[in-house]
C-alpha cells in the first residue's frame, strides 16, 4: 500500500482528497474555457469567486462540525439572515471588529439555545433547528422589512482586498488542523462515534455537545458577517439558499452523515466546488432548464463517486484486517489512521 499507486489510491478514496480533485477538475475546465472566450482570466475574477465562496465555506464548516458530532443543524440559514439584517439595519457604522465579535456571539448564543433544547430538552436536533430556522427567518424580516442598509465599509473593502480571501482560507485550514488535534476536537469525533463510551469514561458529554453547537453557531455568525460584506447591504431573504447548500458542501467534502468522521477541509473544497459549478455551466453556455439538470447531476456525481469509492475502501479494509495474537507475542500491525 505504500507504493506511489497506493498513495494515489488513498487520496482518491479519502473524502478530502476526492473533493480537492473534483474541484481542481472543475477549475481547470472553467479557467481554460474562460481564457479562450473573449476576456482572459484575471486575478480579480478568481478573487471575487473566492470572496463569494467565503460565507458558504464558513457556514458549511459549522454544519460539518455538528454532523461530525452525530447531530444535525438546519439553523445556519436563519442565523446568517438575522446577522445580515442586524448589521445592515443598526451596526452599519460600528467598529467592524466589534461587529464581528458581536455577531459571532449572537450566533453562538443561538447555537447555545439549539443545544439546550436538543441536549436538555431531549428533542431531535433536526426538529429543533428546523423550528429555530423558521423563527430566525421570521425575525430577519421583522428587523428589516425591505432590503436596505449598509455594511461597515472597512469590512467590505477588507474582505475584497487582494489575498484576504486566500488568507482566510489558509487560516481556516490551519485552524482545522489544530482543532482536530485539540481535546475538544478529539472529543467531538469521539461523541460522533460513541457518546455512551465517552460518558462511561467520565467525560462531560453534554457539555462538549453544547460547546460544538455554540462553535457552529458562532461560525454561522461569522458567515453572516462575510455574506454581509459581499452583499454590502441587508436582505432578509438573501441567506435562504444556505439551508441546503451548506449540507451539499459538507457531503461533497466527503463527510459522512453518520457522525464520527469528516473533515472541514473537505467541506471547504466542497463549498468551492458548489460555486465553481455555475461558472463551468456559464462558460459552457448552459442556460435555462439544462442549468438545473446539469447542476443536480454534477452534485450527484461528486457525492455518489465519494460514496462509491468509500464503499470499495470499506470492503478492502474488511479483507485486509490484521491478525491479532492476544498472547504477548508479535505486535498487531495495521494501517494507522488519524481522524478524517
Amino acid at each position: 500500500m505504500n507504493t506511489k499507486f497506493g498513495r494515489i489510491r488513498q487520496i482518491v478514496t479519502d473524502g478530502t482528497g476526492r473533493a480537492v480533485i473534483f474541484w481542481l477538475i472543475l477549475m481547470t475546465i472553467w479557467l481554460s474555457l474562460q481564457s479562450t472566450q473573449g476576456m482572459g482570466v484575471d486575478a480579480r475574477l478568481i478573487q471575487s469567486y473566492l470572496v463569494l465562496a467565503l460565507p458558504l465555506i464558513v457556514a458549511s464548516i459549522g454544519v460539518t462540525l455538528v454532523i461530525i458530532m452525530g447531530q444535525f443543524d438546519l439553523s445556519a440559514a436563519g442565523v446568517i439572515a438575522v446577522v445580515n439584517v442586524t448589521i445592515a439595519s443598526t451596526l452599519g457604522s460600528w467598529n467592524p471588529l466589534l461587529v464581528v465579535v458581536l455577531m459571532m456571539a449572537l450566533g453562538g448564543f443561538i447555537g447555545l439555545v439549539n443545544g439546550l433544547f436538543v441536549i436538555l430538552g431531549k428533542l431531535p436536533a433536526i426538529a429543533v433547528t428546523l423550528a429555530t430556522l423558521i423563527i430566525l427567518q421570521g425575525l430577519a424580516i421583522v428587523i428589516l422589512p425591505q432590503p436596505s442598509g449598509k455594511v461597515p465599509p472597512f469590512l467590505v473593502d477588507g474582505v475584497r482586498a487582494p489575498f484576504v480571501a486566500v488568507g482566510i482560507i489558509v487560516v481556516i485550514i490551519i485552524a482545522w488542523m489544530l482543532f482536530k488535534r485539540s481535546r475538544s476536537g478529539l472529543y467531538m469525533f469521539a461523541i460522533g462515534a460513541d457518546p455512551e463510551a465517552l460518558h462511561l469514561s467520565g467525560l462531560p458529554v453534554k457539555k462538549i455537545q453544547l460547546k460544538i453547537f455554540v462553535i457552529a453557531g458562532a461560525l454561522y455568525g461569522l458567515a453572516g458577517v462575510l455574506m454581509s460584506a459581499s452583499l454590502t447591504s441587508g436582505d432578509a431573504n438573501a441567506a435562504d439558499s444556505f439551508l441546503l447548500t451548506t449540507f451539499a458542501a459538507t457531503a461533497i467534502g466527503g463527510t459522512a452523515f453518520v457522525g464520527g468522521r469528516g473533515s472541514a477541509v473537505g467541506t471547504l473544497f466542497g463549498a468551492l466546488t458548489l460555486l465553481a459549478i455555475p461558472k463551468v455551466l456559464f462558460v459552457f453556455g448552459v442556460s435555462d432548464w439544462t442549468q438545473k439538470v446539469a447542476f443536480g447531476l454534477l452534485v450527484l456525481l461528486a457525492v455518489v463517486a465519494g460514496a462509491f469509492s468509500s464503499l470499495r475502501k470499506n470492503r478492502e479494509s474488511m479483507l485486509l484486517a490484521p491478525y491479532s495474537t492476544p498472547t504477548e507475542g508479535e505486535p498487531i500491525t495495521a494501517t494507522k489512521g488519524g481522524n478524517a
Binding site: Q34, P147, S233, D235, P278, V283, V293, L311
Partner: protein, 441 residues
C-alpha cells in the same frame, strides 16, 4: 459483477451531465446563429459596428448584450426575457448586437457570480432582473466600472450607475396618481362602495417591490376608506399556487370578507373564491385568466407589472450603447401600466397591437401568461416574441430617441423610493400618497 454495474451507473451520470452541458451550449450557439445570419457588413463612419458611440469591449464586430431573468419557470419572467431578446434580434439592432440569454437561479450568490461571469466574458450591456435592490449593487458597480451598461427591469436597484426601468413608482395610463398599489386599492375600494373588510396578499415578504405596493395600498385606505379593516394578510410569494392555498385558508377563518387585494398570482385568489363560490371584488395583475374572468363579468381590477419592461429595458440599453453614456439618457425610467376593469377589458386581434386591447382570445395563451405584453413604449411587441423570444419576420424595432427616454424619466419626488436617495436640490419628505419621497428644498 455488482461492482461493474455500479461503475456503469457512475458512467451514465457523468456522461449525461456532460451531454447536457454540451446541448445547453449548442442551444445557445443556435441563438447566435439566428442573428449572425441576419448580420451584414458593419460599416460606419467612426469604425464602430453600426457607427455607435464606443467600440465593443471584447473587440469583434458586434456588441455583446446579455439578457437575463430568473430561472423559476415563471410565465411573467419568461415573457419579459423573451420580449427583451426579440428586441435585440430585430433590425436594425440584429446587425449590431450579439444576444446572449441567461437564466439566474433565485439566490443572490448565483446572480452575483453570473454578473461577474458576464462582465468577464466581455459584455457591453447587461439587461437583467435583479434579485435584490441592494444585494447585487457591488457587483453592478464593478460591471459599470469595467465599462458595462447595466439595465435593470421591473424591480429596481439602488446602485446609481445602473439604469432602472420600472413601473413601481409609475402612473397608470390616464391617471395622475402614481403607484400600482395605491391605484389598485383605490379601484377595489371603489368597487366595494367604499366600505367592508378585505384580505391583503403580500408578494415575497422582505422585498422592496412588495413593500412599495403594500405601503401605497395602505395609504389609499387611509385616504379613501379609513374605516375599512384588513382581516387577514399573507405572503403570496407572487405565485398563484401559494396565493390559492393562502386564500383558501383565509376564507376558512373569515368567510365574510368582501374584497381581496391580491396582486401577482391573482388567478389563485380567484380560483379559491370560485371553489368557495364567492364572487367578490379582487385586485390582480395581468394574467390571461384574470382578464378572461373580467371579460366574463367578474368584479375586479387588473393592474400590474408589464413584461414589456424587458423589451423597453433592452431598447434603453441599446440606446445607451448607440448614443453613449454621456448623451443624457436618464437612469430612472418609469414604465406606464394599464388599469383594466370588467368595463374596459377588450379582446385583441391575435398577435398584433390594436390600441386599447388588453386580453387575448381564449386559448391563445395560458392562464398564467400575462395578457398585457403591449405597451405604449413597446409598440413593436408581438405575441410571438413574448412566447418564443424570436420576433416574427418583418417586424422592425422602433428605437428610442434621447428625448423620448427623457420624457419617461421618473419624477424626482419619487426617486427616494427606488434609490434611497434624493437628487440634488431635493430633500427627503412625505409624498401625497403617504410614502417617503423627495420634496424640492
Amino acid at each position: 459483477m455488482k461492482r461493474n454495474w455500479k461503475v456503469a451507473a457512475l458512467a451514465v451520470i457523468a456522461a449525461s451531465s456532460l451531454a447536457l452541458s454540451a446541448c445547453g451550449g449548442s442551444s445557445d450557439t443556435a441563438d447566435a446563429g439566428a442573428d449572425s445570419s441576419a448580420a451584414t457588413e458593419a460599416g460606419a463612419d467612426n469604425g464602430n459596428p453600426c457607427g455607435w458611440a464606443d467600440a465593443p469591449r471584447a473587440g469583434g464586430d458586434k456588441y455583446v448584450v446579455y439578457m437575463s431573468s430568473l430561472n423559476i419557470g415563471n410565465a411573467w419572467q419568461e415573457e419579459a426575457v423573451n420580449l427583451g431578446s426579440a428586441e435585440a434580434l430585430m433590425p436594425p439592432y440584429s446587425d449590431c448586437v450579439e444576444l446572449r440569454t441567461e437564466r439566474t437561479e433565485p439566490d443572490p450568490a448565483s446572480q452575483i457570480s453570473q454578473i461577474q461571469s458576464m462582465t468577464a466574458a466581455g459584455a457591453d450591456a447587461i439587461v437583467t432582473f435583479a434579485l435584490s435592490p441592494t444585494a447585487i449593487n457591488a457587483t453592478f458597480k464593478e460591471a459599470c466600472d469595467a465599462g458595462v451598461t447595466v439595465v435593470i427591469y421591473d424591480a429596481t436597484v439602488t446602485e446609481p450607475c445602473a439604469y432602472n426601468v420600472s413601473y413601481i413608482t409609475a402612473k397608470p395610463v390616464g391617471s395622475d396618481i402614481p403607484f400600482m398599489g395605491y391605484n389598485a386599492m383605490a379601484a377595489l375600494i371603489d368597487m366595494m362602495g367604499g366600505a367592508g373588510d378585505i384580505f391583503v396578499a403580500h408578494g415575497v415578504a422582505g422585498t422592496s417591490v412588495d413593500n412599495v405596493h403594500y405601503l401605497s395600498a395602505l395609504a389609499a385606505i387611509d385616504q379613501l376608506a379609513p374605516d375599512m379593516n384588513i382581516l387577514t394578510e399573507w405572503d403570496g410569494n407572487w405565485d398563484s399556487a401559494q396565493q390559492q392555498k393562502e386564500t383558501t385558508k383565509a376564507l376558512a377563518s373569515n368567510p365574510n370578507v368582501v374584497g381581496i387585494f391580491c396582486g401577482y398570482g391573482e388567478s389563485g385568489c380567484v380560483k379559491a373564491l370560485k371553489a368557495a363560490n364567492k364572487e367578490i371584488p379582487v385586485t390582480g395583475e395581468t394574467s390571461q385568466y384574470f382578464r378572461e374572468q373580467l371579460l366574463a363579468g367578474w368584479p375586479g381590477v387588473s393592474i400590474g407589472s408589464p413584461p414589456a419592461q424587458g423589451g423597453i429595458a433592452m431598447k434603453l440599453a441599446l440606446g445607451v450603447l448607440e448614443y453613449g453614456p454621456d448623451a443624457g439618457i436618464p437612469h430612472d425610467i418609469e414604465v406606464p401600466f394599464k388599469v383594466v376593469t370588467k368595463d374596459t377589458v377588450m379582446v385583441c386581434e391575435e398577435d398584433t397591437y390594436t390600441e386599447g386591447c388588453n386580453v387575448f382570445p381564449a386559448g391563445v395563451v395560458g392562464d398564467e401568461n400575462t395578457a398585457d405584453i403591449f405597451n405604449p413604449l413597446l409598440p413593436e411587441a408581438s405575441l410571438t416574441s413574448a412566447k418564443t423570444g424570436v420576433p416574427p419576420a418583418g417586424l422592425v424595432a422602433v428605437p428610442f430617441t434621447v428625448d423620448e427616454m427623457k420624457s419617461f424619466e421618473q419624477d424626482p419626488s419619487r426617486r427616494y423610493i427606488t434609490r434611497e436617495a434624493c437628487p440634488e436640490g431635493w430633500t427627503q419628505g412625505k409624498l401625497p400618497e403617504g410614502l417617503d419621497g423627495c420634496v424640492q428644498s
